[in-house]
Symmetry: C2
Subunit: 354 residues, 2 copies
DNA sequence: CTGAAAGCGCTTACAG
DNA sequence: CTGAAAGCGCTTACAG
């Protein structure tokens, strides 16, 4: 069972390799008649085109690397699907890997992708990444790259994300309109190694609340990874304190699910005793109990945009770097809609584990 | 900026290409002293190993295709992460694509992956796939392949999945112990083009319920894709009928979330007025309101197993096909735990949209 | 529209 | 432990 190669097809057709190659590429330089004949023979012989060999010659791989942290996060899953769809439509196949937010793992993934000669890379950087370790993706020498969701100071590359500051601000204004008096921001990786997403959301929220004279937990407090379990734990800690907040704003909807669960555990009614909101507007937000107020961050649109930016970059490596920022949108649901500060006042007396 | 190749490194070191190639492969046939010197020069010159070129020569690509339907499903996301981790540890990189459960798209993905000379493929088949269209993955000629979650009649390939029949049976026995009298199975793609997963879960449930003389909605009724929106819609239809069931079993937890939401809309208490259960035991099940009884189907374990099966298959293409089935586990939570048929009796009188 | 020839960057017996 | 040579399967000017 020797592999069938272009040469074999050419021999069977009585043509040269060049002509058959033209057919394989569907070039207009081969006649339709020749194409039909050659294709018939290819099918009969079970010929399979070898892109790797072709790529060696052409210098393009028709592969693009997509390096994410973890696709179990629904936001990242949406992003992934949109990126894949946009790039596949242009003929590219995705080489995917997950960094688990570990820089060493990310480093190895970049090596692999670059060694496989990916024509471009879309990267959602691991927390704490710096320009130095990503230099292989920096212009003008590096592999064409688009950064997504998290920007890297000092790295010259295209970038796309939702406007996290605007997202925080939208929510802050809504809470101000509600008459909230104190707000805790919980979950999400923070500190010097934190995500630019959390920083932005916090900053926007802080700005809007400040205008209303509303108290906000200190930046960098109540941080954690971004799972429901983290939200649950932090909420129990918060409500064990002297002065629980009127509102808990979660870094993401995933975290908010844990917050809602903890409140239920304590016999508190989210949306009445205490307001809750999140970010991302994942599908589950609508189905939460109560339905969760959330700021949509449009991962599908972000992914599609990243694909477009990378295609443009690969087509023209010289074009100036572009940042494209997506506007967020607030979805108000029961978890805040029915809240008033008066219902919240009851909380300071009654909040305790049941 | 010509690309630096092995030859350039060799010249700079005063060695031959062969020796430098040995170093690139970290072969024991090169002395440690030589390796150190060569690596230093590689770094200085900015040499990047070209796997594509190496692969052309060796006949292996060190890439594996992973073709799924849609990674936004948390079950598939877990599967993906586990597959990636298992294969990367063995040095493989994943070529990923999503079929959206469309056979034409799946067809194109398989072509791409095969043309890129992937050393193997892990496939979660699109609904309705048959052995004919997957022949490129069939033994002994085709690319080594492992089927995951859905089997294909007549296709000789390795296969791994959870035991869906056992999963249905576990849940059925639990419902029998509860004293349920009528059960509706909702959601999931069914019919001749349905998923083998739904068929298995239904069959196991039916078997266990039959032993207790409990009524079950006809196989193939209340089918749909597997989203929360589908669960919501079907639940409203069900409860609009004359004789609503004691229990709603959802094809998946995602569907169950929609069921819970619809019940809330109608002012019914899940777990008291009507019992609800799902499959997969996704993270959200614990955080649902009420926490959802669910049968764990272990996507992480399934993915890790698929990776192991594929590694074994690639190492020995001649070994006989292997099917490896994972045992499910039932997690009982409030959505069924507090249910008794007596509370349910109220339902037939009181169920109506509020 | 088609053919002969060179070459993409690597590896691998083989000989020393 | 190291070097000279052939070759993996394709593409692409170039000439006809």
């Amino acid at each position: 069972m020797k592999r069938v190669i272009l040469q074999d097809v050419a021999a069977a057709c009585g043509l040269s390799r060049s002509t058959v190659s033209l057919v394989a590429q569907d070039s207009p330089r081969a006649s339709e008649q020749t194409k039909a004949r050659v294709r018939k023979v290819m099918a009969e012989l079970g010929y399979v085109y070898d892109r790797g060999a072709a790529n060696l010659r052409t210098g393009r791989s028709m592969m693009v690397g997509l390096i994410m942290t973890d696709v179990r996060n629904p936001y990242f899953a949406d992003l992934t699907m949109a990126v894949e769809q946009g790039l596949r439509a242009a003929g590219y196949t995705l080489l995917q890997g997950y960094s688990y937010d570990e820089r060493a793992r990310q480093e190895r993934l970049i090596s692999t992708v670059v060694e496989h000669r990916a024509d471009g890379v879309i990267l959602l950087p691991a927390i704490g990444s710096d320009a130095g370790e990503l230099r292989r993706l920096a212009r003008p020498q590096g592999t064409p790259a688009v950064l997504i969701a998290r920007s890297i100071k000092g790295l010259d590359a295209d970038y796309t994300s939702v406007d996290n500051v605007a997202a925080g601000e939208l929510l802050g204004e809504h809470l101000r309109d509600l008459g909230a008096r104190s707000v805790a921001f919980v979950g999400g990786p923070a500190g010097p190694a934190g995500s630019t997403g959390r920083e932005g959301r916090y900053a926007g929220l802080a700005r809007a609340l400040k205008r209303g004279g509303i108290a906000l937990s200190a930046r960098g407090r109540h941080t954690s990874p971004a799972t429901a379990t983290d939200g649950e734990r932090i909420t129990h800690e918060l409500l064990g304190n002297e002065n629980p907040p009127d509102v808990i704003v979660a870094y993401s909807d995933a975290v908010a699910m844990g917050v809602l669960h903890a409140l239920r555990d304590r016999g508190l009614r989210a949306g009445a005793d205490i307001a809750v909101a999140g970010f991302d507007d994942v599908a589950e937000a609508r189905y939460a109990s109560p339905p969760l107020t959330s700021v949509a961050t449009f991962p599908g649109e972000t992914g599609a945009l990243a694909a477009r930016l990378l295609l443009a970059r690969m087509a023209d490596p010289q074009r100036p770097s572009e940042s494209s920022i997506i506007a967020p949108r607030l979805h108000i649901r029961e978890s805040t809609a029915s809240f008033t500060p008066d219902t919240a006042r009851l909380l300071t007396v009654s909040a305790r584990p049941r």
